[in-house]
Amino acid sequence: MSDAAFDPTAPLTPSGNLRRRRAFSRGADLAATGAALLAVGVLAVVVYTVVSRGASALDLDFLIKGAPEGIGPELVGTAIIVAIGTAIAMPVGVLVALFLTEFAGGRATNLVRLTLDLMNGLPSIIIGLFVFGLLVNHKQQSGIAASVALAIIMVPLIARGTQEVLLLVPASLREASDALGVSRWRAVLGIVLPSALGGILTSTVLSVARAAGETAPLIFATSVFDPSRFSLNPFEALPNVPVRVFQLSEEANPEGFAEAWGLSFVLVSFILFASLGARALLARSRKRRSA
């Protein structure tokens, strides 16, 4: 201790080293808060730009007519592609999740789990190359090829989401059905799946939101189309929103830009509403289960 007198009436404020440490810690707090605000700010700027520039283009004609007045064919085409993709991906994803939770054990499980992780991490342009080589090369572009590509992207998302809710199904339900002598498949179909249905639907909606904006595979599968013509046949190239935005953004044409903003606005609002809604539902069902 120095010879400075200890003053018992001095206020209890940190001094010297402690003050420095506290200030540094405060600074770190502020930096972390700033980082979070920065991310939210970027989101706000992007969404604001899309809304402010896209909403002005929007009216009923824009939504239901073909090019050059509107974007109807693209909306219909994307809906068809995503619907078929979901129809392929949802059963496969749910069954894979069942395989991992209900019939787990052994090396096969690890292999399947690793496969799902790799599928999830695969660059989507690679999936485009794959679909081109498998379904488009020496044939023609088709909505089906695009759906298959989207399904490959959706399966790991649906499988993981489903797996999570399957693990949340209370063990007491399974034990009760075992105690009653109910066979495995009846228990799975009658008890486990119904009680996980909400979660399965949520993860499906989330994966639909992901797939709807996916562009890279569609460039290979369905990029040569006539944006002024409605097409409902999935065996030919279908007009679709993401590829159209990509094409318009590559041309330096102000009218094209206006159309692209309109397309972006529709797509972003669909995606944001779908994923926010699904998340809200998920949070509610979790709360109910834990209550």
Partner: protein, 332 residues
Amino acid sequence: MSASASPAVLEAPSAARSRSAERRKRADRIGDRTLYGICLLAALLCVVTIALIAYQVVNGASPAISKYGIGFLTDTTWQPNFGEFGAGSLIFGTAVSSFAALLLGAPIAISIGLYLSLLAPSGVRGAIAPLVEMLAAIPSVILGFWGVLVLAPFVQGTLEPWLHDSFGFIPIFGAPETTGSSIFTASLILTIMVIPIIASISRDLFLTVPADLKDGASALGATRWEVIRGIVLPSTASGVVAASLLGLGRALGEAIAVAQVIGAGSEIQASLFRTGDTLAARIANQFPGALTEMHKASLFYLGVILLVIGLASNLVAQWIGRRFSFRGAPAR
């Protein structure tokens, strides 16, 4: 079950009941087998798909692989009109743009993870966490379109001149070009894409740090930063590395948004403000217009490189991440 009921169970059941029980048992056996069978089939389908993807990409690339061999990786000429292809400048562009994105994005994302797991009041956390994840939900084509029309002019008009004036003595901050299309702009877009991935994984990681440890450090007088620096980060370091690798994998493989803003240059240059191109972006830009078989095969060859890099970064991330029970990125 009451005691009086048990003799009835022990008695031999009537013939009719035993027959129906028999039938039921057979149905159950078939049902069990069938369910297991189709589940196994779905799982096998995934495994086969991955194998088929690898096969198709390598198969499509085989003419280019047999013509150029491994030298393709270092050759920097890419002249479709003369039938000469090499991936050198594209590998360079991919590496530079992705690492720049990681360098910018990882510290921000880890800070967000820290904020969400340790600092934020629970109400704010519930609002900000989904918003950060929304950033990952914006389609890359729209982010790229925004990049072309909003970010690139800002970068070209404001950010690049400022960086050039202040730090121009470092060669990577060269003179700005006439358009905002540059490796730098692409890096910024990729930064926006990797942040939500790394942030949400690292938040989950930080939440797994035992409260005992953090409370103990606080009780010993550590400030919040010292708790983070001394307890939270060291105990999750390898997981954070794995999260960053997953973010890197995302940046390496992004095709569309990069194709929109990077400017499709073909030279290796020190300055970040010049145009460049990446493996994935080159495929997206040139595949629809590729006329010769060798051009297509070379683009497939780029896909092979991308596939190898992508699988490798994912496998390493899984391998590191296995220590923590997190699995994979929340979104690509």
